[in-house]
Amino acid sequence: MSNEAGGGIHKLICLLCDSQFSQDVTWRALFLLKPDEKVCYSCRSKLKKITGHICPLCGRPQSVHAVCRDCEVWRTRIRDSLLLRQNRSVYTYNDMMKETLSRFKFRGDAEIINAFKSDFSSTFSKVYPDKHFVLVPIPLSKEREEERGFNQAHLLAECLDRPSHHPLIRLNNEKQSKKKKTERLLSECIFDTKNNSAEGMNIILIDDLYTTGATLHFAARCLLEKGKAASVSSFTLIRS
């Protein structure tokens, strides 16, 4: 398919910046044991993974290992037994990530999932090594899913190669990202589920972005309260 003349053994096109790059030639790559890189070195280095100290509850990167203020607020608002146990995320929300996520979600470029796939699944198995968890991707409203054609949380859950359940039903249909922080914290009734839909399950919610945590906390509460889940944690692509 290459339209450039000549070239090395393995010319690839970066999913994000469209420029041509080459992959290191190793024995593994040569025998097709290693999947092709999807993103060039320069773009890869601009997607910053979360390292160092984080808030033990929401996974926010910060300078000390202590519960952050937002999580303290959540603790006062929701009873301990109905609280999201913890959240972990892969990347920080920098400019490059904002651009990439908006192309992925709002422009609907589903192929971009391949840029995140390996980081998403390797980080997941690092922070949730147990196998007895059940994945629950956060659903989109019908209208939103029709418009976009896909649900980014489903695509992310598929990267993890484990069965996922869909007990949650989304009620209202406004975009979270169009709301102010206070509005988001107020709109408690965004999910519903059938009685005992998740009885005794240890659930990990999957979503693209943890911003205020409202979506995930309300989903957790719904699954714990009505669905009778044993515990709910979450894993997102990004922690902003």
């Binding site: 096109i13 470029d109 589903a110």
Partner: protein, 463 residues
């Protein structure tokens, strides 16, 4: 058109305004489904497949992409849906989503326009202007091959005026947003009172249709059969020459029967060949508007400059040359092959006593730095090839470090040389290619400039 007369009263003027000469997706139209259905049924609107499939090969009908790597799928309601990644940033084109356009020919009814520019064209510019007017009336293709600093924009004015007054829609298309931003105010000043839109990603005019449009080639993807006179500025500039889809955009946006003008100082080989064997009408302006010859580049060997930069040293020949000009109060442009070398070179110049800045494509302060350089607040501006075109700074001296690098093609080197001596009072100056081994591109670039000067002397365009 074969539209029944009695229905004429009921079509939507608003929808017509939005769709005329455009090529848009459903998501770009804020009208109800019933309304659009009705217009399709009554033959006002066509809806065509947005992706065509031919022998298992896909083609996006909005951007013309045929490279199969750009086609991908998303999984929706139990089915895999094909979409085009090449133009996804302008709204997703996927199968089953049609592209809409208004069927009726567009009639032009704008008021006559007067050129309010009071400058004077040089004899070379006047010649090109006359040829352009002729090409517009004959609806021909034309190549205007004019050296850097010939005053290309001004020589378009008479042609644009005549076209607009014939009710023809004119578009100046360029690959770069920078150029749109630079041209728009000049044209607005030259045609005061005319309806002019400047189209680039993020502009307020996006999607507008006006008699005179200045657009990035990318934005043209939203139009179809719209333009009577298409002028492509810097036809050889990246990414127009690299990207097939942008050429497709130009062809789609212009009418079947229209004028196509290529404008360049360094036309690509194919156009040059066509021009030389008569397939393409062309006019050459070998001299600058100030009638002085172009400064010819000199080659200076500077040793293994990469190694020197790695050891935090500037090649002495380069250093001496820059210090000489800075001392005389002349600003210096230094071009380098890549961003990584730019960073190294900028670090090396920290120790040298002059006001230095470096700028590359993704630099957030690019505009400010270039402006400071123009205003004389900087002595040395180190840059990658992004500033090879369009930047005019009086008295500037130009150097290329590592001129043998493959990124410096003949046309890049000619354009870079074109930065020097653009002002009529400082028509002379240095152009130096610092190299570690000459390349054919360097020799070709020098030959190109020499030939232009010889031609200019022969036809007495220079004093």
């Amino acid at each position: 058109m074969n539209v029944p007369v009695e229905k004429n009263s009921s079509f939507s003027k608003e929808l017509q305004q939005t769709l005329r000469s455009r090529h848009l997706l459903r998501t770009e139209l804020s009208f109800s489904d019933e309304m659009i259905e009705w217009h399709i049924k009554n033959g006002y609107i066509t809806a065509e497949n947005s992706i065509s499939i031919n022998k298992r090969r896909y083609r996006c009908n909005r951007c013309g992409q045929t490279d199969q790597r750009y086609f991908s799928f998303y999984h929706s309601s139990g089915k895999n849906k094909l979409y085009c990644r090449s133009c996804v940033m302008m709204g997703r084109v996927s199968e089953e989503v049609p592209l809409y356009s208004w069927k009726e020919e567009n009639e032009s009814n704008w008021k006559s326009i007067k050129l309010t520019w009071d400058g004077k064209l040089s004899s070379g510019q006047q010649k090109a202007a006359n040829v352009l007017i002729e090409a517009i009336s004959k609806k021909e293709e034309l190549l205007i091959w004019a050296v850097c600093g010939a005053g290309k924009t001004e020589m378009l004015f008479p042609g644009i005026e005549s076209a607009l007054n014939q009710g023809l829609r004119v578009c100046i298309a360029t690959p770069r947003t920078d150029v749109v931003l630079e041209l728009a105010p000049r044209l607005k000043a030259a045609f005061q009172g005319a309806d002019i839109s400047a189209l680039y990603g993020g502009s307020d005019d996006k999607g507008r249709l006006s008699p005179l449009m200045i657009s990035t080639t990318h934005q043209l993807l939203r139009y179809k059969d719209a333009i009577d006179v298409m002028i492509i500025d810097e036809v050889d500039a990246f990414p127009y020459s690299a990207d097939q889809t942008l050429q497709f955009a130009v062809q789609k946006a212009r009418k079947k029967n229209s004028t196509l003008v290529y404008l360049s100082a360094t036309p690509p080989k194919e156009l040059k060949r066509k021009a030389l064997n008569g397939q393409l009408h062309s006019v050459r302006i070998p001299a600058r508007h100030h009638r002085k010859p172009l400064p010819e580049p000199r080659f200076v060997w500077c040793g293994n400059w990469k190694k020197k930069l790695n050891r935090n040293k500037i090649p002495p020949a380069v250093k001496r040359w820059i210090e000489f000009h800075v001392k005389e109060g002349r600003p210096v442009f230094l071009f380098v092959p890549s961003v990584s070398i730019l960073e190294k070179a900028a670090a090396c110049f920290k120790g040298v006593h002059c006001r230095t800045a470096s700028v590359h494509a993704e630099d957030k302060h690019r505009k400010e730095k270039v402006q400071q350089f123009r205003d004389g607040q900087l002595d040395l501006l180190i840059t990658t090839t992004i500033l090879e075109r369009g930047v005019t700074v009086p008295k500037v001296q130009t150097g290329v470090l590592g001129a043998e690098s493959s990124i410096f093609t003949e046309s890049a080197l000619v354009q870079i040389a074109g930065r020097t001596g653009r002002h009529k009072e400082y028509a002379d100056g240095d152009v130096i290619y610092f190299h570690f081994g000459k390349t054919k591109s360097m020799l070709d670039a020098r030959k190109h400039i020499k030939e232009m000067n010889e031609l200019a002397a022969k036809v007495e365009c220079t004093d």
